[in-house]
C-alpha cells in the first residue's frame, strides 16, 4: 500500500519528532551520555543566563554610570593603553581550543589515538592558559584598581559583584573542563577505548568544552563589549 515515491511521515524532519517522542522505548536516538550532556548544558545555559540577566538588570537600574570596560580592561605595553587586548587574546585562545577539540573528536572517530590525545592535550593547555590570564585580570582589578564586589572607584558599585560572579563561574567551568579533558585524554592514551573502538566519550567531553567557549562568546559580547 505504501507509495515508494512518497516519504513516510517518520522520514520527514518534523515527522521524525513525532516518531521519536511516541517511540515505546526511548526518545533520543543517541547514546545516553550524549543526550544527558546536552540536557546538562541546557540547564547550565539557564544558570549563566540568570547571571547575565541579573547583571543586565543592575546595570540598567543603576543611576551611577557603569565603568567603561574598554578602559577598565585596557593594557599598555609601554605605550598607549590598548583597549581589551587581553580579552581579545583570551577569546582567540578559547576559539582555537574549540577548534582543536572538534578536530580531536574527528580523529577519535577515525580511531587515531595518538592525534586525539595530542589535540585534547592542546585543548586543555589552551584552556589552562585562559584561566591563567583570567587570574591575572582578576589580580589587576583587585590589587591595582581596587575593585570589590561592593564598590570600586570607577563607577557603579555593582560592577565588581557582576564581574567576579560571571567570570568566576565561567573560569570554574573552564578549570573543571581542563581536568575533565585531562582524564578522558589519559583514558584514550591508555587504550581504554581500543576494544570497542567507541570514542563517544571524546565527543561528549567535546560538547562540554564547546559550551564553555559558547558562554564566553556571550560574556564577551554582553560584559566587555556592550
Amino acid at each position: 500500500m505504501a507509495n515508494d515515491a512518497v516519504a513516510t511521515v517518520a522520514e520527514t524532519r518534523a515527522g521524525s519528532v513525532i516518531a521519536d517522542w511516541s517511540a515505546d522505548k526511548q526518545t533520543f536516538q543517541a547514546p545516553w551520555g550524549k543526550a544527558m550532556m546536552w540536557i546538562f548544558l541546557l540547564s547550565d545555559t539557564f544558570i549563566f543566563s540568570s547571571f547575565l540577566v541579573g547583571y543586565m538588570n543592575v546595570r540598567i537600574s543603576s543611576t551611577i554610570p557603569w565603568p567603561i570596560p574598554s578602559e577598565v580592561f585596557a593594557l599598555s605595553f609601554g605605550g598607549d593603553p590598548i583597549p581589551l587586548i587581553l580579552i581579545a587574546i583570551m577569546t582567540f585562545i578559547l576559539i582555537t581550543s574549540s577548534g582543536t577539540m572538534a578536530m580531536a573528536v574527528n580523529y577519535g572517530y577515525r580511531q587515531n589515538k595518538k592525534v586525539t590525545v595530542m589535540l585534547m592535550t592542546a585543548t586543555a593547555l589552551l584552556g589552562a592558559s585562559f584561566v591563567g590570564m583570567q587570574a591575572f585580570e582578576w589580580t589587576k582589578l583587585i590589587v591595582d584598581e581596587g575593585v570589590r564586589p561592593w564598590g570600586n572607584p570607577m563607577g557603579a558599585p555593582q560592577f565588581g559583584a557582576a564581574f567576579f560572579m560571571i567570570t568566576g563561574f565561567h573560569g570554574l567551568h573552564v578549570s573543571a573542563g581542563v581536568i575533565y579533558l585531562g582524564i578522558i585524554a589519559n583514558r584514550v592514551r591508555r587504550g581504554d577505548y581500543d576494544k570497542t573502538g567507541n570514542y563517544e566519550t571524546v565527543e561528549i567531553a567535546g560538547l562540554y568544552w564547546h559550551f564553555v567557549d559558547l558562554v564566553w562568546v556571550f560574556i564577551f559580547a554582553f560584559f566587555y563589549l556592550w
Binding site: Q29, T63, V217
Partner: protein, 115 residues
C-alpha cells in the same frame, strides 16, 4: 542520520569554521576598537555574537546533523529566556526611573498650614 559512531566530516570543515570564528571575533573586537556607539554598536555586537554562537552549536557541537527531536528539545526552551530578558529590562528601567525621581532634589517644599 547520526549513528553511534558519529558522522565523518573532513577536517577541513572544522578548519574553515575555526577561521570564520576568528574573523567574526575580529569584527566583534573591531566594533569596540573603532568606537562604534549607540544602536549600530549594539546591533553589530548582537549580530556577531549570534553568528559565532550559531556556528559553534551547529558545526562544532554537531547539532546540524542531529535528529530534530534533540535539536528542538535543547534549542526551544532557551526561547523562554527572551521573556525573562524583556521583563527584567522593563523592571530595571522602572527602578532607574524611580531612583532618579525619588533621590533627586524635591521641587515641592511643604509649608505649614495657616491656622
Amino acid at each position: 542520520m547520526s549513528g553511534a559512531e558519529g558522522q565523518q566530516h573532513p577536517i577541513s570543515t572544522y578548519l574553515w569554521i575555526w577561521g570564520l570564528l576568528f574573523v567574526l571575533s575580529g569584527f566583534s573586537y573591531a566594533v569596540d576598537y573603532l568606537q562604534f556607539e549607540g544602536y549600530l554598536r549594539w546591533s553589530l555586537i548582537l549580530l556577531f555574537m549570534f553568528l559565532k554562537a550559531g556556528f559553534i552549536i551547529a558545526i562544532f557541537m554537531h547539532m546540524m546533523w542531529e535528529r530534530m527531536a534533540l535539536i528542538t528539545a535543547i534549542l526551544l526552551p532557551p526561547v523562554a529566556l527572551l521573556f525573562l530578558i524583556a521583563f527584567m529590562a522593563i523592571e530595571g528601567d522602572y527602578t532607574n526611573l524611580t531612583r532618579e525621581i525619588v533621590y533627586s532634589a524635591p521641587d515641592f517644599t511643604p509649608v505649614s498650614p495657616h491656622h
